[in-house]
Structure formats: structure tokens, C-alpha cells
Amino acid sequence: MAIRIGIDVGGTNTDAVMMSDSEILAWVKVPTTADVGSGAIDAVAELLNQTGDSPQSVSAVMIGTTQFTNALIERRSLERVAAVRLSLPANTSIPIACDWPDELRDAVGLRTYLAHGGSEFDGRDISPINERELIEIADDVKSEGIVAVAISSVFSPVSPKVEGRAAEIIQSAAPGLSVTLSHEIGRLGLLERENASILNASLTTLARHSFANISSALTAFGLNVPVFISQNDGTVMSVEFARRYPIRTVASGPTNSMRGAAFLSGLDRCLVLDVGGTTTDVGALSNGFPRESPAEVEVAGVRTNFRMPDVLSIAVGGGSLIRRTPKGVTVGPESVGYEIVSKAHVFGGSVTTATDVAVAAGLGDLGDKTAVAGLEPELVRQAVDGWHEDVNRVLDTARPSGEPIPLVLVGGGSLLVDSDRIDNVTETVRPRYYQVANAVGAAIPQASGEVDKILSLETLTKEQAVSQCRVEAIDKAVAAGADPDTVEIVELETVPVAYFAGVAIRVRVRAIGNVSFNRFDLMAGLDPVEWDRAAGPLNDDRSTR
């Protein structure tokens, strides 16, 4: 029996499930620890304890983590970055990272360089790469003591080789640098792709340490299994891949909840409402995947354009404070958060929370019901009406269309929702294991590859262009960990380029396949001690630099 473990490391709790195929064998919630490894081990130990299985029966561990998102938001453990843009003589009018928040720029100690290179939309060079110029940049980077470099080139999704060639020159002049290439991170949109690449480069040292920590903790526990990491689009990547692209984890939290909701409910076209302690996330799924955000998404105050789930949030959750104001009763945005287990009336506390009101209104049976018997009926009515109005409004904005579709409720706070008050849905489902939908989402073993580029039709036919992109997307999915025999194209879109129909075509392809656990042997070639040595010291104290 192939057992896999899905772990979702949140800010407060670490949730974990043990699964065999589509069956859930056990689940657990434990407090998150400072080093992700020991929290993960606590969860795994508890799961094995519940089922009586041995570590040897586990075939893979799949982890979703918010630690890279938090590092960016809290601006800590970030590596210094040198950013090189290949574009001269073009693109001098907007400098690299010029609209970043100052504190983040400072936290990554950003040094920027413009150099010759870059391509036109049809693949022609803007100008050839200048080797000497890049060697000088490498020397400067080295003398600054910077080890992480982000390289961006104009139209690199069309001509990725330019960035690769520049990386070779820089790395041979300054060996030991860790290099992020923008075409491997984002799609068309130079500023946004460049931003995401710099953020990625700043996280590479933390990624090496963190994944080494997880791997050694699992090994020490006797789990010699492949480890996979959740990425933004709801698929997983091998830990080796994640080490190079930590930025791909930053939106995995909400995606995992939504994918988990789809899995648990068996619905692949639905709305999902994930009610937590402080906030409620809402999104729509089609084909089991979250809809993609139509707009540029800010990460830690920086504009990026990679594939992100379209998730809307409102500041209402199980721990939201209920207040009486001159304008009426308000729910949130202040919340007791995880302290709900001691502060809410139903749990013996003295604060009126949304959960208390929900219990008083008869929406759920939780804690000590008599503790809320004294709540004024009018307050209860107004509060419950108020948040259902908020929930209906945000559900409306999340819908793909006006057509009624099912709603899936997940998250610990989902008892707040009275299905009779939800408008325009065919049914409301709260599946079993709704409390750990995020960990279930993390345990879904699929890997993907995506291509989004413009191709010139001067040397290729449209069919050749499309088939070239299909092959590339499949290769990327396999590189991320998919079994080549199971990879399928799930999205294929060709768009004529405005003004240039017949001259150029934009092709977007996404391939997905099931992860093959056998192909990856975590420990082969990935010695944690090696990792630590390669990573160098993790420096949290910027002032020493």
C-alpha cells in the first residue's frame, strides 16, 4: 500500500493528513514550530501513532509552506541580490525595481545593472551580448560579496537562450553564484517577471536551508522518501526544483485549501469558501483547479505576473469580534485568532466572537451552549445577517458567471455559514475532513509545466509553433516531477497578436501529469550536509553586512 503524507505548514497550525490513493487514513493539527522540520515531524509522528504504521510504509511526503511568503512580508532571512537586465540600448526609462517599497529594496540590498542583450518579439537581437561588460558586472558582484543574481532579458519567454548565455559568462567569471533566470519564473511583462526573479533570488539561501532542515529531520525520523513542495498553481514540484524556485510557493496556501475542497467534495466546478479564524477566502474552481487571477498580483508590495489563484478575502472568521456601534452591529475585522479556544464565551472566555453568535443562532453545536444563552437576540440577528451579506457579496465577485453552481465549505470556522442564507448556489456541501482541506490539497500528487510565449510565423507554421510549445510544456512537467506516461495537455490557447496577425502568434500551454514517486530518490545526490555547506551561513542580521 502506497501511503503519502500531506502537510500544510500555516502561520499558526501545521495540518497533516495521511492518505492512501483517495482514502484519508488519519489527520492531525499541531502548532507550527519555528523550524519547519520539527513541526512536520511532530505531525508525522502523530499520524503514524494514530494508524500504527511504520515510517517505512510511507512512500512520499508533500509539503505546503507559507514560510517564503512570510519571509518576504516580514523582510527577514533574505539574501542580497544583484539584478542584471539585458536590454541596452532599450529600456533605460524605467530602472530595475524602481517602484519597490524602500524597506524591501534595502532588505535585499539590491544592486542593479543594465547590460547589452535582449530580443525583439520576433526573436531578433536588440543587441548582441557583450561578454566584457558581463565579466565586469560579475567582478563587481563578487567584490560586493553578493551570491544571488537575477538575470532578465527583454522578450526572454521568446528567446530564453540570451539569459542562459549571460548566466554562463557571469558564473564562469564568478563561480559559486546562484543564478535565477527570469524566463524560468514568469511570463510576458518584463517588469513583473524581473521583480519575481529578484524575489526568487532573495529566497534561494533560505530555501536551501529550510529544505535541508526538512529533509534531515525526515531522514532522522526514518523517512527516506521523496519530498514534494506545493506550488502556486496547485501542483507539486520536487524538492530539488523548489530549492531553485522558492517563489513558486508564495500562493500555495489558498490554492491547497481550494484543491483540497475539490478533492473532498468530488466537485471540480464549484465555489469554495474557506473560513478561518480571522479571514475567509473565496475562490472558484474549474476542472478542479482555482481560476487564475486576471490581474497583476502584488507579492510583499511588488508587482508580479506569475500564475496565481484568484482568491478574494474578507475580514470575517470564527474569531471575529462582534461589536455594537452607533451604525449597528459589526463583525470583524479584529479577531481573537487562534486564541478563540480560550477567549470565546462558548469556550469559557469573556469575548463575544462570531463563533459565539453562530452557536447562539443555532448554526452549530460547539462548546458550552449555555454560555451564549444570554446574548441579546437582536445582536445575534444583526451579526448573522451582516456576515451573510458580506459572504454573499464576495461569493458574487468570485463567480465565473451568474449560473448557480455548488458551494463547498471548508476550514475550521465554516460552521458560521448557514446554507439557507447563501444565494444562487445549487447546493452547499461541507465535506468530511473539511478542517484539513489544505493538507489534503497538499497531498494531491500532480506536477505541471507551463509555456507562454510569442513565436514568429516567419520561420514556423502555426502548427509547428504549437507543437514546439506542447513539447516544451511536457518537458517542464516532467522536470517538475511528473511521470512522462501520464502527462496530458490540459490547456492550450493560441492568440493572434494584435496588429501582427499572420506575423506572430502567442501560445499558452499547460501540461499536467501524476507524480511518479519512484523516479525520485530524495537522498540520492541530495545530501543534507552538502546542502548546508553549499548554502553558507544564513544571515538574519543585515547590519553586519
Binding site: I94, L188, P496, A498
Partner: protein, 369 residues
Amino acid sequence: MSYLDTTALRDIARGSSVLAGGGGGDPFRGTLSAVEMTRQYGPPRLTTLWDLPDDAVVACPFIIGAPLAFLEKFPFGDELAVAARELQRVLGAPIAALLPAEIGGINSTLPLALGARMNIPVIDADTMGRAYPEMDMTLLNVEGIPAAPTVVADEHGNSVVVHATNNVWTETLARTVSVKFGAAAAGIGYSATVARLRHAVIEGSLSHVRSIGQAMREAAGDPQRVIGAVSRLTDAVELFRGKIISLDREIIDGFVRGTFLLEGIGADTGSQMTIDIQNEYLVARLGGEVVASAPDIITVMDAASGLPLTTESLRYGYRLVVLGIACDERWRTETGLAVGGPARLGYDFPYVPLEDSPRTIARRSAGAP
């Protein structure tokens, strides 16, 4: 003559998004480059036609190419300066001031970037009073001012001068050249003397959008105050409040076409409005009857934030406040309507000025804004 600091530049970008009527493209990159040019070369100066001698030459800078290519290449720097210098050579006269072609989106902040870069003042005016998808949809065309000679340039210093017999040829030839310039090029044209332009432009438009943008900034966070301030400053009529219940829209590389349906909320409960999109919001219909159309401006504000929404950013379920803003009177003449009216945009209904629409009359007599 006054100088614009970076706060003023951002206010102009913000305020022009109201008059852009949902179009004008993403002002983000244009604003960043204007701010950067200001940092490097000092702030752009603002002037008026009345501060310039009659025989001084003025021209309109713009970007030309594919919206997709502008995502990768930013032709707001040296390319623009190359084009401006070449135009001066062709004309045999210095460009005394720059004139914004439109007041909405990228082409309203771009003259400020070039003005800072070349130390040329920018006229507090524009040639549309709104945004339109094509460069010939301008009051300069209504006044018979030719786009040619137009110069198109790239970042290498290459430039091509287009001498064409009419504005359609200028657009076709300039666009063809821009492909070889990487589909993202800088241009400048519509040069004329100050005397010729005096009655052809909309004066005070940069100051106007700056005050709108400033009011929006000061009221930020309170959607009702933002919408109230915008309505007051533009003398707008609130056409409708409603929720999007269907959205039929295609976005092909930056070009947006389609229609959406609003179901009334609040006082408008029980009625429905449809709005047509061709990059901008072009026609608003209430129960099938046209209540506002181009060249008048239809602008759509998000009821939750008070911010204007572009046609790309609409989504099902959004709650909107639809405002109508009267266009410049010159758009309402026979020649004005031929250049920017409903017939030019493919419609066969007769144009009715916003103020004469039954909806406006009903709203205003009811005391609504």
C-alpha cells in the same frame, strides 16, 4: 509656468483614469517613466498656449506598436528624444512645447516624461478630452490639422519620417514601420503653430485631471466621498447603480470588445443597464434606450473602492456606479461626430448630448448629481 513634482504626476495619472472612460491602456509604465525622468532630469514644466508666441511650434508625442510589446519594451526614454529631435530637424524649427494627445492612459503621462527629459514645457491641454483607440480620433483632425510629418523612432537612434497625404495614411505607414522597430516605438506628430492650435485643443486638461486625482487621493478609503468628489469636479450625472450580472467580453492582447449587463441596486432596483465596450465604455442603454454614448464619456466606478475600473478589470458580480460626463462641445459638431461619434464607431443611432438625454433630465430634476 509651474513645475510638476512626482505627487502631481501620480495625481495626473490617477485623475486621467476617470476621463479615460475605461480605456487608454495601463498608465502604470508611463507613470513610472515620468517619475523616473523627473528624478533624473528635474520636474517637467507646465505652460499654456497663451504663454507662447503665435509662431511657436507645438507637437504631440505618442507611443505606437502592439500593447503586448510594450509589456517588454518601454519606449519612453531616448527613443522619444530621438523622434523629437528628428522632427525639429525636418520642421527646421525647435519644438517650443509638447501637447498631450489624449487625457487618459499612457499618452497623457508620456509628454511629461519627454518634457522632463528634454527640458521642453508641456501644455496644460489635450486634443481629445478623453481617450480613443486611434490616433486620428482627435479634435486636431476635426480642425484639419495633419498628423504628418510624423517621426517614428527606436532605441538605436533609427528614425523614419512619414510624409503622407492624409491622417489614415500616416497611421498605416507609421504602424508598418513600428513592426520593424520591435512593435514598440516612439512617435511624434501633429505639429502646428500656437496660433493654429488656439481653438483646436481642450485647455486646462492636465490641471483638471490633477485636481480630480488629488481629490481622489485625499478621499481614498471612503468610496462615497471619492465618487462624490469626482462627480462634483467633472459635473457628472450618475446614470446608474448596479451589479454586473453578465459579462460578454473578449480581451485580445490589450484590445477589449464586448458588452455587459447591470442589474439595478438601491434606487435603480428593478431596472437594467447594458454598456458596450470597444476599449472604452462607448454606449450605455437603459431598458434598450440609449442614455449616453461617445463622444460623451461613460466612466464606471467600483462602488466598493470608489476607483474607476478599466474595461479589462471588470468581473461578474462587481457593484458599479456609472457616471456620464459631457464631452467638449466641438465633438458635437457635424465634423466632430464624423471623427469620434457613434457612426464612426459602427453604430447607426443618432447622437443625443448627455445633458439632453431623458435619463439625465430625470436624474437632475430629482436633485441627484
